[in-house]
């Protein structure tokens, strides 16, 4: 066979499979297939290319002993000095302010329970995602609407011992709330015996008539309570914005509450995501939390135009999630659970570490880097990890005077 002829697609795939499967990671093999088939290549060329690829892959693997942790920490820490402190409005959605930059990065490695700006991207099921109307329908179910969102005014009529809630027609329509729904909500006003009815003169007005006389001193509180009553929606979701992305509608929610949103019909719970790591961990599990952590950190870095390899971020995320729960990078998490007393003492809260260790009779086995720096030994990474296991020259003299 001459090497001058161009190979057919099938031949190319066959050769790639023969040479690479089992040698390189699957993902890379697939990538090679996808790329190589775009070219017309001769047998000789293809083999040369594959040679280069295999050679490059093995040349590019990490050396044993490499202090990948320190490198990862530096690779994330160093560019963070170049970040801005400000928060920006979100790309494309100028209605929302999202914490970005250094504050967000710190929030992520702190494993905060709730982010300072919780956010959800709600994707819709196939039947809902194409139509704007259907998307709005879901959005209305999600968006938390309080009485105060639809009320134009709230008046107290002491003469008739009643409170009149006047509703804003525009807001009612905007939020998809009917007067009837508001009435129902107001009927839940427990602890007070009251009659709730729609005003005969004004269809947008609801009159709550109390049986017991109203206590003036508690009036303000009662008013507040009425205003804060939830008509509908999901707790914690202050606003929902509908966005057209590609060929579908996506709901962007200000606030995060995965378990509640998942129950709403029309929500595609497979794709819906929150930016709340802890919530994701509770609802979707630790692997989801890890994946989200990686994504969020990468997003923050990329948004700032900083180029950091994903492997560093993965290592940080793995460190934070490896015990099965999300742990903070710091004294209450990863660092606080180190095996070494000296390393912990050198990090933070020195005295407590030492007294606790004393009381427990702890032994520091000096396996980590910080401890060995403290006692003045070689650190157990990199070239200093290499040890001679057997030294024949050393054995000889020992044997001669071993007879004594």
């Amino acid at each position: 066979m001459s090497g001058e002829e161009y190979l057919s697609q099938e031949e190319v795939l066959k050769i790639v499979d023969e040479r690479l499967s089992g040698v390189l990671p699957l993902r890379i093999v697939q990538e090679v297939k996808d790329t190589v088939t775009k070219y017309r290549l001769t047998r000789e060329e293809l083999h040369k290319i594959l040679d280069l690829i295999v050679e490059e892959y093995f040349e590019n693997t990490v050396d044993p002993g490499e202090a990948v942790g320190a490198v990862a920490a530096q690779s994330i820490g160093e560019p963070s000095t170049q970040m801005t402190l400000r928060t920006f409005h979100y790309a494309g959605v100028r209605e929302l302010n999202v914490t970005l930059g250094l504050p967000r990065l710190i929030e992520l490695v702190d494993a905060k329970k709730t982010p300072s700006t919780p956010l959800m991207f709600v994707y819709l099921t196939d039947e809902y995602k194409r139509s704007r109307e259907k998307a709005i329908e879901v959005a209305r179910k999600i968006e938390m609407t309080l009485i105060e969102n639809v009320a134009k005014g709230i008046d107290v009529d002491l003469l008739s011992n009643s409170i009149i809630v006047e509703l804003d027609e525009v807001m009612l329509r905007d939020k998809g709330v009917t007067v009837e729904m508001v009435k129902k909500t107001l009927e839940k006003l427990r602890s007070k015996k009251a009659k709730v009815e729609i005003s005969p003169e004004n269809p947008n007005s609801i009159i709550i008539t109390f049986e017991e006389p109203l206590d003036i001193s508690k009036l303000e509180k009662l008013r507040e309570r009425i205003l804060k009553m939830k008509i509908k929606g999901v707790k914690g979701i202050k606003r929902v914005i509908i966005q057209h992305r590609g060929d579908e509608y996506v709901l962007i929610c200000d606030g995060s509450n995965l378990p509640a949103v998942f129950k709403i019909p029309g929500v595609n719970y497979r794709r819906t995501r929150s930016n709340n790591i802890k919530e994701t961990e509770e609802v979707l599990g630790i692997e989801a939390a890890r994946a989200l952590l990686i994504e969020e950190i990468m997003d923050v870095l990329e948004e700032q135009g900083l180029d950091v390899d994903i492997r560093h971020v993965m290592l940080v995320a793995d460190m934070m999630t490896r015990t099965g729960t999300v742990k903070q990078i710091g004294r209450h998490g990863v660092s606080g659970e180190k095996g070494s007393v000296l390393a912990k003492a050198a990090f933070e809260i020195t005295i407590k570490q030492l007294t606790d260790a004393a009381v427990r009779g702890e032994v520091d086995p000096l396996q980590g880097v910080a401890e060995n720096v403290i006692v003045g030994k070689y650190i157990p990474v990199g070239t200093a990890r290499v040890r001679l296991i057997y030294n024949p020259l050393e054995q000889l003299p020992r044997r001669t005077d071993g007879g004594k």
Binding site: P25, R27, V109, G361, V373
Partner: protein, 890 residues
Amino acid sequence: MSFKLIESEIDKVIAAIKFGILSPDEIRKMSVTAVVSAETYDEDGMPISGSVMDPKLGVIEPGQVCPVCGNTLGTCPGHFGHIELALPVINVLFVRHIYDLLRATCRKCSRLKIPSEDMARYRVYLRKLKERYPLLALRFSEYIKRRAIKTTVCPHCGEKQPKIKLEKPTTFYEVSEDRREMVRLNPIVIRSRFERIPDEDLELIGYDPREARPEWMILTVLPVPPTTIRPSILLETGIRSEDDLTHKLVDIVRVNERLKEHISAGAPQIIIEDLWELLQYHVTTYFDNEVPGIPPGKHRSGRPLKTLAQRLKGKEGRFRGNLSGKRVDFSARTVISPDPYLSINEVGVPIEVAKILTVPERVTPWNIEELRRYVLNGPNKWPGANYVITPEGRRIDLRFVKDRKGVAESLAPGWIVERHLKDGDIVLFNRQPSLHRMSMMGHIVRVLPGRTFRLHLAVCPPYNADFDGDEMNLHVPQSEEARAEARLLLLVQEHILSPRYGGPIIGAIQDYISGAYILTSKATLLSREDVAELLAAAKYVGEIPEPAILSPKKFWTGKQVASMFLPKDFNFRGRSNLSAGHLRCDDEECFWDSYIVVKKGKLLMGVLDKKAIGSEQPESMFHWLVKEYGTDYARLFMDTLFRAFIRILEKRGFTMRLDDVSIPEEAREEILDIVREAFKKIAELIDQYQRGVLEPIPGRTVEETLEIRIMEVLAEARDTAGEVAARYLDLFNNAFVMARTGARGNILNLTQMAALLGQQSVRGERIWRGYSGRPLPHYESNDIGPLARGFVVNSFREGLAPTEMFFHAAGGREGLVDTAVRTSQSGYMQRRLINALLDLYVDYDNTVRAADRSIVQFVYGEDGVDPMKSSHGKAVNIERAIERVIGWRL
């Protein structure tokens, strides 16, 4: 004394460190003297024996011989003494534990308040947990302790348990059930209770009774630390000044002795209690002088004393200040300045520094003559030597040797000469803040006249250095192993590729980029002389190719010159930095010459600029050169071709002048028109707002909407004005060249110089703070027009109006504050990240493991690829492999 630097030469290594509490017996056993005297010196100024300055406690003065171990200053480690306390006191550092133990055990039978059956069960659990999950065992113990604390009736003897109250810092009370009566528990009572707690019970709640019996937390004997850790210092006035610890110890001894007297004299209980309380106070502050709830012990001057806890704590404390970070010898620091004639691997070291820093070199038959010469030169003439070490380990200081000739002659193999730093030595060079590993790299020494460290400009990005007064540190490795590692691993050329993103962090910057552009531009034609000059600057040795133009005169193109430094089998295609806007090219046929084509090592098309050879540019031509031809080649490339870039700038001249940012009158008029147009639009918006017809953006208030809209209009105006200005600028205007090639500055900078500054902002908003309703008094209150809110119509060239200058300053100040705040925040974050991850390493089985060998990742980064060696994150660059083989790609 010679230090043993190599681990294998050290006789003893610390395998592990065990922590525990000293028992009274141990304290007495290790003590060399009881301390009973509060007086420290007699009339003659001699230390009194039996005081805290007893000579037995250690040697602190030169010439003194230790009566205990016979050593002298520097070799005697010091010895402990002890104080027999008249009455026991609580060790504050353990109050938390004492409190827990008091609550967890029974007041009558001292057993842990857990039923016996449960105890047996828990014991089994705990043992199993300890083997497998030590961290969980800790939590389990904590749980058992909490349960015991909650129990109100002792399950062993049935005794009802009163509440225990801790009055901070060290007083305990038993509170009776009706909460009316409080019975004080003095340390004697607590101690006797603790003595009866069985060992097995303690183990259950995580205490180790072998190393830490709880009664040892109540002190009956106080160890007196050796004087070597609290030396007194002699002031110039001849007055002796004692260490803070000594002061505190004297206080303790004084009160203790008084207490003893009173007890033996049978003084009233009240007086004894008071003294006891005082003793407790002094002992407390001796351990920790920042205990909340009590006044800190003060020095005569009013300064709080620095006692034991303060010595260990914090950034300057023992742990972080002396153990994790140590001061070193063989180091130097001075201002840095640039030197384009050095290799990137080199550092210029002033002669004066080279004469102080030394390298120990062992005498061999091959270097003996050279070393003799150094010894003869002595310490003051470079290259000389400062010390000679004989095979017996005696150190000869050449400063005080009259007969250097004699010493030089007696040199023989086995001797060590500490010679001056000389050319070719390897040193570590560092600039703070050391944020990543490229902040400390190995350089090869070049001893030069002058007083500054000199470095190549291309290594500025990894150090983040400039020459506005920056200083850098230099360290000389002293062992052969250290030098070998420095040469192989730390050398600058090994750090051209950054592990952060898999691309070169070292590359061309600023003038190198301008020069590369000028050289490789189509407009550059070089005569034979020009070519010779450039090649000489680049130290080129070899043939000159055929000239591109033969007649009327032989001319070479700059691209030909650049090609001479490329490997003969190198293929590359890619866009250059110029390729943007209307100069954009996506293919080989490029009118603007902004598409680079290298075939078989010949630069056929395109100019070299930032995208091709710049620093911090992954997947660039330079990146592939480093990756495919190795770091040695990359260094050579930078040490040769880069010099030609600089040389052509020197030949041609390259400056920026006022004319470069001047635009003609009609352009200015055009820009003003744009601004006027924008102002009109804004007036309209404001009018709409005032009439209440402005349509708000959903989810925003009308005011917010107005601000957003105004900012949009102004930003657009600035951009279009900038475009106008750019249109009027000459394409070969030097400032414009710098911006386009990526050498320095960007189009926005040019816009601000030539057209107008645009909107100044603070916190992302237009500037509005200041007076009520207006930022400056030059405008009317509540004027929300562009000029009143920080829009600057003038350019830097035109000059700013006074009000504009203030707005600009406000915006500039925010930037400064922002930087200052950010550095501390990101610094702390990085410290935490490092601390959490520093133990991780890749093992021989390719797993990532923590210090205890537990697995963190089964394969590093899911594909086992080192980001530094990757091509911008990709494990293998398939496209590049194809390009290398067939010479092109899609």
